[in-house]
Subunit: 180 residues, 2 copies
Amino acid sequence: MAHIDLGIDEKRFPGIIGLRMFRPETAKPLNELAEALLRGPSTLARGERELIAAYVSSGNECRFCRDSHSAFAAAQLDGGRPLVDQVCVDPDAAAISPKLRALLRIAAAVRVDGREVTAAMVAAARDEGATDVEIHDTVLIAAAFSMYNRYVDGLATALPDDPAAYELSARRVVEHGYTA
Amino acid sequence: MAHIDLGIDEKRFPGIIGLRMFRPETAKPLNELAEALLRGPSTLARGERELIAAYVSSGNECRFCRDSHSAFAAAQLDGGRPLVDQVCVDPDAAAISPKLRALLRIAAAVRVDGREVTAAMVAAARDEGATDVEIHDTVLIAAAFSMYNRYVDGLATALPDDPAAYELSARRVVEHGYTA
């Protein structure tokens, strides 16, 4: 049971889905932020950006966001779910590009505290070919999921009973995005 | 010096101001979220909502956000800056309503981790007259500043040389809002 009465069937509209229906005024910019960060024009692939979101949510132990964005990442990455799960457990051992690995290190630092990001981490990402916009977007994705995770867990929203719900959401997001 | 080249005079456009100019695609939803949360229709006064933002930013030791939203709160609260500073140091000793004090306890929990919010904290806020929408908005303001703080600090943005810059921003925000 969520901490507040969302006025919906929580199992049918779990996590942020029910929150969006409860407060459409804030849902609009929250959806548009996810769309811009995770699907808008970028030199980072959509699957890579979803992977950063899944990785941060995994670090924050936010089950709804972790399982949602793991499914969204898996649907848009060649390595599929095994790669996503590997990244969440140990990105250093995962078969990802050195650039993405360096960006994940920055994301991990942001998740703890913005001030944990060091000039050396940024230089390492740049050495692997990361651009300033990619570094910016990585920091903002990690910061944004520090928000979404707290929002979903801070109101004690429900999880779906059936894990297949995440795959269903993945198909919807891949096809229609976050603002449909 | 910020971690990335923002292409602007960082002292003239400190904190999130320079980041907004660097990446207008994400600035739009970020501004609209701040506008909806801190200035949109609500039974919480604008000064009270800015106070929650200042309090969370103070807890996260994000100087730019703390000093910005402290100025924005002070400009819209009867107690002015002394009240804001007192809340940031010790909300239990501050001359605020019992409802706002209970909401600040929820915000402090969200800042650490969404899962730190307890049913007892929510019940205490409700006992002091907080509505479900007010509890929702408090959680989302605290979550959102967990993002803005990480964004501003994660990219090592500059502070203004002159603290009067915060008062100038306060006048602009009070008059024109976050999306002007």
